[in-house]
Symmetry: C2
Subunit: 215 residues, 2 copies
């Protein structure tokens, strides 16, 4: 069976490793801290140490996107922070919706930690209408979702529904135009390839710890 298109090779995109993009976020946090301390310049060594990686890894990560340092001197904190922020698309506040207002969902709704990182949960959706007391955001019924997403041009959703309905809700989200899903349901979501899913599973994180602390 001859491989007809061995030479075709996906397409030209530089293909940045996902881990590199994660680390970019970590670097950004460190840079923000430095900026807060009025530090203007940082070497790859110092920044890498703060981020918990090796200096060469930091430099290699950055070269995927260009050259940002000055040899003999290091990186300009402000400038590097801006460039990473631009890259990640977090310079402007991004609207996010949350779907599934159960225990964890409510929890995340009242957690304001996202805002200073460039994200705002602008609305939540659930099958069953929720008690309005103590809710910092509107909770709409699911039928309102498609219209809302379109109107407000929302692209990202936090999914905190029970596993049994997660795939179905995901289909609705995709249908509505959501292209990024932060999934807390413990299952593997099937999505078209233009949609990105990041999974967070706290039980799995605990299990993982559990394994590594044994003996």
């Amino acid at each position: 069976m001859a491989r007809v298109n061995d030479a075709v090779k996906k397409t030209v995109r530089p293909e940045i490793p996902r881990k590199t993009v994660y680390r970019l976020s970590v670097y950004l946090r460190c840079l923000q801290r430095l900026k807060g301390n009025a530090i203007r310049t940082v070497s790859s060594e110092a920044l890498a140490k703060a981020a918990g990686v090796k200096p060469t890894q930091l430099r290699k990560d950055l070269t995927y996107f260009g050259q940002f340092g000055t040899r003999g001197l290091g990186y300009d904190v402000e400038e590097l922070a801006t460039m990473i922020s631009d890259l990640l698309g977090t310079n402007s506040l991004q609207p996010v919706i949350l779907v599934g207002v159960g225990n964890l969902g409510s929890a995340l709704l009242s957690y304001r930690g996202f805002e200073k990182e460039g994200f705002e949960i602008i609305a939540a959706f659930d099958l069953v209408p929720k008690d309005k007391r103590n809710r910092p955001r509107p909770v709409f019924s699911m039928e309102k979702l498609p219209g809302f997403v379109q109107e407000r041009a929302v692209r990202m959703a936090i999914l905190t529904v029970p596993a049994i309905v997660a795939q179905e809700v995901t289909n609705q989200l995709v249908e509505a135009g959501i292209t990024g899903i932060l999934n807390f349901a413990p299952l593997v979501l099937q999505v078209p390839e233009e949609v990105v899913v990041n999974n967070v599973n706290l039980a799995i994180e605990l299990e993982n710890l559990s394994y590594f602390i044994q003996s």
Copy 2:
């Protein structure tokens, strides 16, 4: 510069990739679902599909720990689930404490999703005493922590304190005998090497999505 101990090779431990251990948790979830559906036997192909990986990866992952299948037949669902659960140390309910009862901390405290996965948050700690209403668990002041951890032989902690105090609190945890930390604070914790830290950072997950959904 001759490499004197090229032959020495760390030590004998099989050195399981961390990603393999994560996937073990995913396999376990899938097996539990199968078990719920009264399915007794599964092929690497079917299980891998459910877990969102390639069959060879599943098989390779398992071989780190031994041989569990029957050629021509597949794996016994029950048996494989038990062996993974044993391996992860989640067959017996594990006590976990939570430190930092702010927004996210309270959220996780009221989230009961851990229990059916083998973990129980048996107590929470905070610097400032908390309103007791609506709290499903006791919230103790930090001074009580060392005694509690020792008495109840707790080894794992969920850390949801503000970043500014996270390192200091971590030191206290390590001092008290905690060896596994699930860290939600957005910084890199310094710990002795026998202590394992898993980081969960929701803002970073959103940022990462944000990057990948661009254009």
